[in-house]
């Protein structure tokens, strides 16, 4: 028989410590839906998504009920839509976004990702049109998420794209200013974007992926924090890392189980488990609280980067053994508005955007769900994107920027997105001008790290 303590341990993690499977995401290739006639293309897109994902939500709910573990989100990611626009020069990309939205509504998922373009080395047919349409597409749809990859370790940073993205982020916020600037919360600018990321808003189904695949994103900051709370305060950091690894192992095994079951029941190959600590605004389910539990007075103080580096590494080491295939972003997330502890750290004044930037060098993702002043200039946003992309490019890791300019709000105001996206006070950003640098355009050459062959 199973060990009583193990069973009680699992139940406590689920019922008291917010342990859950954060997302089961079905990746669907739309490469076979390209058509010069946009109406026909959209019809094919809608039919393919609905056909492949029709049982996704029901299956995930069944698994959740039978195995007693919550599966919070069911989502779909698709081929970057810019790839379908190349052969349809007269198409309005927003029509494609609305089709994705309609398909998402039909199959019952809460987000669909892939209104995306991969332009890390340059623009191909369709890319620029898609990027320019992003603000309108996000304002006119409910479930669609968008991402643009502007750099990679192999190719360097496409500064023409970076220059474009500042104004696009700003416009996405402006067009949705009556709805908490929500457009910008659904737009991620990446460097080294993974092709199999199950997490929104950055999920898309990369061109190297199979026709249809299931990815799972796990979570569990609350369980890690609760485990650490029981460790004596004088335990060495080696012991702390070991405990994080053990907890991450359990969390990831749960994700692997769900992935296997979903893949089997849906008849779709299993892709990857994304070994992530994804926080929620629920009290205690916070990456910042883990760092504080290890011994920081408030997230953002000196020592935060080192603590986060250890946490991130231990999560991966624990998770990698628990899973057959690891992918996606895999690491600790530090989205401000989605993490109760981060929000408090900002309110206390201990967490600044500069510290967040340093933290992104040692964990997954980047400047994520950060609300910046509404008057921040597009050039400053572009330069912020360039800085993050540089960190990702040089460190051969994914970095991203998802900032929300709080259009029409004053310093001290709060944007409240509701649900898992949470709320956040405005963080100040340097107002010194990087305009000449941004206006230069061109490409930042790939670093020496690219020359691995």
């Amino acid at each position: 028989m199973l060990d009583t303590n193990d069973i009680l341990d699992t139940i406590r993690m689920i019922s008291d410590e917010n342990l859950d499977v954060r997302t089961v995401t079905m990746g669907i290739s739309l490469l076979d839906c390209a058509d010069p006639d946009p109406d026909r293309a959209c019809e094919k897109i809608y039919n393919k998504i609905v056909d492949r994902a029709k049982d996704l939500v029901r299956t995930a709910d069944e698994i959740s009920a039978t195995y007693g573990m919550p599966i919070v989100n069911k989502r779909v990611s698709v081929t970057p839509i810019a790839m379908l626009l190349g052969c349809a020069p007269d198409a309005d990309p927003v029509q494609y976004a609305k089709t994705l939205d309609r398909a998402a509504r039909t199959v019952g998922v809460n987000f669909i990702g892939g209104f995306s373009a991969l332009v890390h080395k340059g623009f191909s047919a369709g890319d620029e049109r898609l990027i320019r349409s992003i603000p309108r597409a996000l304002a006119e749809t409910e479930f669609v998420c968008s991402s643009v990859n502007v750099g990679s370790t192999k190719s360097g940073i496409n500064m023409d794209a970076v220059k474009m993205m500042g104004p696009i982020v700003r416009e996405a916020a402006e067009l949705t200013k009556d709805n908490m600037c929500m457009g910008a919360a659904k737009l991620v600018v990446f460097c080294n974007a993974p092709e199999d990321n199950p997490f929104m808003a950055g999920a898309f189904h990369g061109p190297g992926e199979p026709d249809c695949v299931i990815h799972v994103g796990v979570s569990g900051p609350g369980a890690v924090r609760a485990a650490l709370a029981k460790l004596p305060k004088d335990a060495s950091l080696g012991e702390v890392a070991e405990l994080i690894k053990r907890t991450a192992f359990k969390i990831t095994r749960m994700g692997q189980l769900v992935g296997n079951l979903a893949s089997e029941r849906l008849g779709v190959p299993f892709g990857i488990v994304d070994l992530s600590l994804a926080p929620t605004p629920a009290p205690g389910d916070s990456v910042a609280n883990i760092l504080e539990e290890i011994g920081l007075e408030s997230c953002g103080c000196c020592g935060t980067t080192a603590t986060l580096a250890m946490l991130n590494d231990a999560v991966k080491k624990g998770g990698v053994m628990a899973s057959n295939h690891v992918g996606g972003l895999s690491g600790a997330f530090i989205p401000v508005s989605e993490d109760d502890g981060m929000i408090r750290a900002v309110e206390r004044g201990s967490l600044t955007i500069e510290k967040l930037e340093a933290m992104t060098a040692v964990c997954s993702v980047g400047i994520d769900m950060v609300v910046i002043p509404g008057e921040t200039s597009p050039a400053v946003i572009s330069a912020l994107i360039a800085d993050e992309a540089a960190i990702g490019m040089v460190n051969s890791k994914t970095t991203a920027v998802r900032v929300i300019p709080a259009v029409g709000k004053k310093s001290g105001d709060v944007l409240d997105f509701g649900g898992l996206l949470g709320y956040a006070p405005i963080l100040d950003v340097s107002t010194f001008k990087p305009d000449v640098f941004v206006a230069r355009g061109g490409r930042i050459p790939a670093p020496m790290q690219a020359l691995k062959n």
Binding site: L2, D6, I7, L8, S15, E62, T66, Y67, G68, L257
Partner: protein, 89 residues
């Protein structure tokens, strides 16, 4: 198919009887029972065989949940594989 029923809450008269009665009504065979009082909290774990159950898993879990509410304890019914996955290498 084997499942694990866990009962956690304040100890009361008749918990074991009511849960077992629920199992018997659904033709679910109780194979093992382990019961402990942890710092005043009653914790019972039952391993049951559901291969000849007369109701489907979801209906059985709902029935257990209802018994839990009536007794003021938390009853969860979960497939065994979850615990195997998390705690066995």
């Amino acid at each position: 198919m084997e499942a694990v029923i866990t009962v956690i809450g304040r100890d009361a008269v008749g918990i074991l009887a009511k849960v077992c009665m629920g199992c018997a009504e659904a033709n679910v065979n109780v194979e093992e029972v382990s019961q402990r009082i942890l710092r005043g909290t009653f914790a019972m774990i039952m391993l049951v065989d559901m291969s000849k159950a007369t109701v489907d898993f979801t209906a059985f879990a709902e029935k257990m949940d209802a018994i839990g509410k009536e007794l003021g304890v938390e009853i969860r019914c979960t497939r065994q594989e979850l615990y195997d996955a998390m705690h066995k290498v």
